[in-house]
């Protein structure tokens, strides 16, 4: 019987329920968004008892399919007020899948918040235990404490920022070496978990096996996919993701004039080289010690894009310095020092906030005059305010839009109140359309049109032209909604887009596990169904076309070096949803 867990934080009861038939062929994002639309009151307060938080591993997660240890977390976002799905790669995802539960639904809210709780899921069953010893503990210390009592488990947890219900708090997961470093960062879901008094979830390793309906088909698909990932120049061992990490994009976007710099006031950054993936890899090699490139967020990833960044003595400083964090806390703030960037990532990971939102917020704070662009020490001080839960920290901890309002800033790069990631919409039009139209708020992963617009993967398009980009964004958003449901890391798509056989293999693994007969075309239709549900939730929550618009300054201020504005018309933006 396909089942899920329902955890009522009002009565502190945990119940096993049969998974409704309509959810049986779903996983990951499809499942979290399905639950949110069906069960969450759209007008509820995101931090109130009527919001729910849903954890769902992907369709093939927990099997031997490569790079598939991903989990989706969903709910109503305290940052955007709309639906949210935020995705992470972690052994927690694999072991939750192996527990046999397709999802965990956390609902309700305790009467008072003097205690906090953890959900334990092991061979003795599922139960809530008091976790007040970890109250307001940072993430690293929390994992270390929990690991003593639960020594064969993986964890989902929040840092103090989540307990303080800050709108940029994320949900943290351990990596294979028990670093508190993998995040469902976006959209403030950590605050939702905090509002429910839930500090952590512990899942015992390998409680069972993921059921596979058609082993032969699964194996056949797996072979094709592995071959594709091992052959593609981007995803193969020793390929660019493996050697330089995602931060190899810093120089690319800088050269494309699309690297948002000094709070989205320029598209190129003088310090790009110093903060690039090339410099990162060189530093890691030179310093040696605990540092490494080619780290994996969960066992079984072929691509291995993660890293461990060492300090000057080779001691571990943080995992990991990836493109988005490197940019948000680097170029976006005019900061060109990788050590300082790594220190800031570590502060974010420890207090439990999204690095993208933190960086975008700091850019706005710098615009407001709280620090000079380029002043890393002052930026670190501002992050420390969050850790102290000071009055200023509470403003900053609520994200870029909130900080912009507090200080009367007009250059606030957000959509639906979520900070924009590391691609400048005025220089790369398709990704701008994705930021603006996805139900998630500004999110690059929702429809990564950067692939054909900049990277020449899956086609070749002019990034500066708005021509045909609404259609492009729609297609990418639909495919992505499915990939986020499958459990595969989005980075597998770089190989899938260029290699038909690998794509076929991916679909076969899904069909093998679920007993479905999806074709490559049908998964796009499936993706569209998920998008429609998400859009419907937002509509019911009060969102209109007016929320699918860029920040005004992007229509008016010309961005160097191309000196263009965001010139996609409102009609074109709306046409993304013509399906």
């Amino acid at each position: 019987m396909a089942k899920f867990l329902r955890v009522d934080m009002s009565s502190l009861e945990v119940k096993e329920e049969k998974l409704p038939e309509k959810y049986r062929k779903m996983g990951g994002r499809g499942l979290t968004s399905g639950f949110v639309l069906d069960e969450v009151k759209p007008d509820c307060h995101p931090l109130g008892k009527n919001n729910k938080l849903i954890f769902a591993p992907g369709m093939v997660t927990g099997t031997s399919a490569p790079s598939s240890g991903r989990i989706s977390v969903g709910g109503k976002s305290p940052l955007t007020g709309g639906i949210k799905e935020s995705n992470a790669g972690t052994p927690f995802a694999q072991n939750l899948a192996r527990s046999g539960y397709k999802a965990i639904v956390i609902e309700g809210k305790p009467e008072n918040d003097d205690k906090c709780w953890m959900l334990v899921l092991d061979s003795e069953g599922a139960r809530l235990e008091e976790a007040t010893v970890c109250k307001e503990k940072k993430t690293g210390a929390t994992v270390n404490t929990l690991k003593e009592a639960y020594d064969n488990h993986d964890f989902a947890l929040i840092g103090p920022a989540g307990e303080w219900k800050m709108a940029m708090a994320g949900i943290c997961f351990n990596d294979p070496e028990y670093r508190a470093s993998r995040y469902s960062g976006r959209g403030g879901l950590g605050a939702v978990m905090g509002s429910k008094g839930l500090k952590a979830i512990a899942v015992e390793k390998k409680m069972g096996k993921v059921e596979i309906e058609n082993e032969d088909l699964f194996k056949q698909g797996q072979r094709k996919l592995v071959k594709g990932l091992r052959n593609h120049d981007v995803t193969k061992p020793g390929g660019t993701l493996n050697s330089y990490g995602t931060a190899a994009l810093i120089n690319v976007l800088d050269q494309a004039g699309g690297l948002p710099t000094n709070n989205f006031s320029s598209g190129t950054f003088e310090g790009a080289e110093k903060t690039s993936g090339e410099t990162l890899a060189e530093t890691v090699e030179k310093r040696g010690g605990k540092g490494m490139m080619g780290h994996s967020c969960h066992p079984g990833c072929i691509i291995q894009c993660s890293n461990v960044y060492p300090d000057e003595d080779g001691e571990e400083l943080v995992s990991c310095v990836e493109y988005e964090s490197d940019w948000s806390l680097g170029a976006n703030l005019g900061i060109d020092n990788l050590d300082k960037i790594a220190e800031m990532i570590n502060i974010c990971n420890e207090v439990g906030v999204d690095t993208i939102e933190a960086g975008v917020m700091l850019g706005v704070a710098m615009e407001a005059g709280l620090a000079e662009f380029g002043d890393a020490d002052k930026a670190i001080e501002l992050l420390e305010e969050i850790c102290e839960n000071s009055a200023l920290g509470r403003v900053l901890g609520n994200g870029a839009s909130f900080t912009g309002k507090a200080y009367g800033v007009t250059r606030v790069p957000t959509v639906k109140d979520q900070g924009m990631p590391a691609y400048e919409p005025r220089a790369v039009k398709g990704i701008g359309i994705t930021y603006i139209t996805t139900p998630m708020g500004a999110d690059h992963t929702a429809g990564y049109t950067i692939a054909p617009e900049i990277l020449s993967v899956g086609g070749e398009l002019d990034p500066l032209s708005p021509e045909g980009k609404a259609e492009l964004s729609r297609a990418y958003q639909a495919t992505t909604a499915f990939v986020d449901s499958s459990g595969y890391c989005l980075f597998t798509t770089f190989a899938l887009l260029d290699d038909e056989e690998a794509m076929e293999g991916m679909v076969e693994t899904v069909n093998g596990v679920l007993g479905t007969d999806y074709t490559a075309e049908e998964i796009v239709e499936e993706g569209k169904e998920i998008l429609k549900k998400e859009r419907e939730f937002n509509k019911r929550a009060g969102f209109t076309k007016a929320d699918d618009r860029p920040p005004e300054f992007m229509r008016e201020e010309k961005l160097p070096p191309h000196n263009g504005v965001f010139d996609v018309t409102d009609e074109e933006l709306d046409s993304v949803w013509d399906f």
């Binding site: 390929g239 080289e273 090339e278």
Partner: protein, 82 residues
């Protein structure tokens, strides 16, 4: 006629740096007028399929692009991320 361009190589293309392999520094390079990016790859002995992205003066160009005096050229291997 000869033109001078400025070239910068990225990621694993840095091994083809003509003066100092692995260097991240850009270099000035002379080419006959009318040369294309394809010609530049040949000159630098970069196998054609190693270059995936070209930017000239911050604008994405295809390999048939005809180089102009003082162009700033950036060559990248296949790269992706998020």
């Amino acid at each position: 006629m000869v033109i001078t361009i400025e070239v910068k190589l990225y990621a694993n293309l840095r091994e083809f740096h003509p003066e100092e392999p692995e260097s991240k520094e850009s270099f000035q390079y002379e080419m006959p007028a009318g040369s294309t990016l394809d010609d530049l790859y040949q000159e630098l002995e970069i196998p054609e399929d190693h270059v995936k992205m070209n930017f000239v003066n911050n604008v994405k160009k295809s390999s048939g692009y005809e180089l102009q005096e003082k162009d700033k050229v950036a060559l990248f291997p296949p790269i992706a991320g998020g």
